[in-house]
């Protein structure tokens, strides 16, 4: 079948089973947009800014596991998209980003709306392509989707000059793809699995530490089975929340900079650590010199480069998290080695002592709305079953700490790059993927402003997202660091001249509700979620002075946590910390 390059783009998307494309048109992409006009199989969602297109596709991918697709024009279309591409790259999210480019004969001429797209995106993509010949287009599309959603997933950019989209060729979409230099591992090495099993069975103070890889791999079930089979405590990273249900008795909560006391202390004291799909990020490990000094570490990861990057590992295991955990379970099914139940029992007693410190406790108030309280009520009202997206800062940490995620793919946030502005557009992608589901965007007044234009997109496509704005009139996390580390010099962290969010929401055709009293929080949430076909912007006026606890200062160890101040306002005694 003879098609133009533009038609090939659209037809490839159909053949790839793509249902949604997030984009914004412009000169170099116009042939492709014209090809979209005359078909209904692939739905195009028009955003209001290219950054939002990438975050929306990203949210869609995180909520479904499918590849998110973006279409933007050359030049500023691309540069606006870069933040979202880097966001997806840091969190290993499968996306294909199609970018218009100036015609091939103008490339390198500083043509109108020309940038070196392949050059600009190179450090923040899994791979990228510039298609110079229409005959390569279909095969390149196939490769892009294959690379994006295999191995360690990631964003792939396909840059298509305008003349290539006008040229014609005979189209057939390749059924298979083989790339000689790319063969991601799936199954793990059997000998390594046996070594891991033997370490785990003999552990006296074990911990299982899992990250986003378990969610990406769809290995939550295998993880839960393993945790129950071994009876080991388990902690999740910010990216890994929901892989083990938050109400599971073996779950210690999140670890890391704002992790729970029990999770971080267990990491510090453990003798055997099983890390799965996690990358020992600095926000997780704190000071590497003080990291788990007595631990023998088993590390399962699909990316060999993640293993041994930051900490040295006793048993490296390269493979898909789900496949490797299944192999491990299989070995455990056939072992005759008995676990040291006495030691495990003592370990759990120790953990329960740490739990007793109630590191996520906070001072309730009848006067002023505590942000933690709002998140807890959000859990209650949505029965813990909502998709929760967030922006970046204090509200993100509170959502992670207090929502209580019981299923994977429900917690959607920019963990690696920490991109403010992510929350609302990613919620659009989630809501489009799951039209009937409750979708909440937990945000702050500083973050939400960064992509506020997307309220217009939400109106156009009737996306009934619930925006939970924890409005403390500060860039809260910046203010917190300035309070702790800069002697309360609140340099440029105060949000002045804020809009009236209720009016703002209503000007976009949505409902806005301001909530100022703790007693009104639950009612407002119930009210909002009862409006099934309406976006509701809930503006919670919260305590300006609230800080995120516990906290490990950058460069400190897991045993050097700062817990919340005691009721008399004094800091907890040092001996309580270690």
């Amino acid at each position: 079948m003879e098609l133009t390059g533009a038609q090939i783009v659209v037809q490839s998307l159909k053949d790839e089973g793509v249902e949604l494309v997030f984009g914004y048109p412009g000169g170099a992409a116009l042939h492709i947009y014209d090809a979209f006009y005359s078909q209904e199989d692939v739905r195009h969602i028009l955003v209001r800014h290219e950054q939002a297109a990438t975050h929306a596709a990203d949210g869609y991918a995180r909520a479904t596991g499918k590849t998110g697709v973006v279409l933007v024009t050359s030049g500023p279309g691309v540069t606006n998209a870069v933040t979202g591409i880097a966001t997806a790259y840091m969190d290993s999210i499968p996306m294909v980003i199609l970018t218009g480019q100036v015609p091939t004969h103008l490339i390198g001429d500083d043509a109108f709306q020309e940038v070196d797209t392949v050059g600009i995106t190179r450090p923040c993509v899994k791979h990228n392509f510039l298609v110079r010949d229409v005959n390569d287009l279909a095969a390149t599309m196939k490769k892009a989707f294959f690379i994006a959603n295999s191995g360690r997933p990631g964003p792939v950019v396909v840059d298509i000059p305008k003349d290539v989209t006008a040229h014609t060729t005979n189209y057939s979409y390749p059924k298979n793809v083989r790339i000689r230099s790319y063969a991601p591992a799936h199954k793990a090495h059997a000998k390594q699995i046996s070594r891991a099993a033997s370490l785990l069975l003999r552990a006296r103070k074990p911990i299982i530490y899992t990250g986003g890889g378990v969610v990406l791999s769809g290995a939550a079930k295998q993880l839960t089975t393993l945790v129950e089979r071994l009876g080991h405590p388990c902690t999740n990273t910010l990216m890994g929340l929901g892989a083990l249900a938050s109400d599971h008795p073996r779950f210690l909560g999140m670890l890391g900079m704002h992790g729970t006391y029990e999770a971080n202390m267990a990491m510090y004291e453990c003798d055997v650590m099983l890390a799965v799909g996690a990358r020992f990020d600095d926000r997780v490990t704190g000071d590497l010199k003080k990291f788990s000094p007595n631990a023998k570490i088993i590390h399962i990861d699909i990316d060999p480069a993640s293993i041994g990057k930051n900490v040295s590992v006793e048993v490296p295991i390269v493979g898909d998290a789900g496949a490797a955990l299944e192999q491990l379970l299989d070995v455990l099914d056939h072992t005759s080695v008995e676990q040291d139940t006495d030691s495990l029992g003592q370990w759990w007693e120790q953990i329960d002592t740490w739990r007793g410190r109630d590191s996520l406790g906070y001072d309730a108030s009848d006067e002023v709305i505590k942000p933690q309280f709002v998140v807890q009520k959000l859990h209650e009202v949505t029965l813990g079953d909502a998709y929760v997206t967030s922006d970046v800062g204090q509200h993100q940490m509170w959502a992670a700490q207090y929502y209580g995620f019981n299923k994977p793919r429900r917690w959607i946030n920019s963990g690696g790059l920490g991109t403010m502005g992510f929350g609302l557009p990613s919620a659009m992608g989630v809501q489009l993927a799951h039209p009937e589901a409750a979708v909440a965007c937990v945000t702050g007044e500083a973050s939400i402003i960064m992509c506020i234009q997307e309220l217009s997109t939400c109106r156009q496509y009737d996306l009934p997202i619930k925006i939970i704005n924890l409005n403390n009139r500060y860039m809260g996390m910046v203010r917190q660091w300035q309070e702790f580390f800069y002697d309360r010099r609140y340099s440029h962290s105060y949000m002045d001249s804020l809009p009236d969010f209720v009016e703002l929401a209503s000007s976009f055709g949505h409902t806005g509700i301001r909530v100022e009293k703790p007693g009104d929080v639950e009612g407002a949430l119930r009210d909002a979620f009862a409006q099934k076909d309406q976006l509701v912007f809930l503006d919670f006026v919260t305590d300006q002075t609230e800080n995120v606890y516990p906290m490990i200062a950058a460069g400190a160890g897991h045993n050097e946590m700062v817990l919340k101040p005691l009721p008399d306002g004094s800091a907890p005694a040092e001996r309580e910390l270690a």
Binding site: R122, Y182, A305, G308
Partner: protein, 163 residues
């Protein structure tokens, strides 16, 4: 520790900048980098000389292997190998120095490939440290210009880097 890493990479535009970009973005150092086509049109051979701890070198090889354009990789320094580098240099050669420089070139098995009244142009091949030694032996004031190709290398014996 000094390492010589040999790569077969897709002979495509962008492959070189992906590799160079990886080194600069992750703060790895490059002492030299050479690249040229091979007998297989679809492949280029690249030799990178780098320094780093065991752990850094492991990361470098893993990160390079992750690049889609990298088809095969071998750390030559892990086994017996031969390294060669070509150096061209122009030196001032007048009066008594002319004989002296010629003797030095002979000692290092180099060749004088161009001559005029005031200068010699010298070609010298060998491992990097031999070229370093030659430069150290030459009076610095006489050296007018130095061009080094960067190291190329190949494993000894049966070990070979191919598809």
């Amino acid at each position: 520790m000094r390492r010589i890493i040999s790569l077969l990479v897709e002979n495509e535009p962008g492959a070189l900048s992906r590799i160079a970009g990886l080194f600069s973005a992750r703060g790895y150092n490059i002492e030299s980098l050479t690249v040229a086509p091979t007998d297989d049109d679809s492949l280029s051979r690249m030799t990178i000389v780098t320094h780093g701890s065991e752990q850094i070198i492991e990361q470098i090889t893993k990160q390079l292997n992750k690049l889609i354009d990298v088809v095969r990789l071998m750390d030559l320094t892990e086994g017996r190998h031969i390294e060669r580098e070509l150096m061209l240099l122009k030196v001032a050669a007048e009066g008594v120095a002319r004989e002296e420089i010629k003797r030095l070139v002979d000692i290092f098995r180099g060749r004088i490939i161009d001559v005029d009244g005031e200068t010699y142009t010298i070609e010298l091949t060998g491992p990097g440290d031999k070229l370093d030694a030659f430069l150290a032996a030459m009076p610095a004031a006489d050296i007018l210009e130095v061009v080094r190709s960067g190291v190329s290398g190949i494993a000894r014996g049966e070990r070979s880097l191919r598809l």
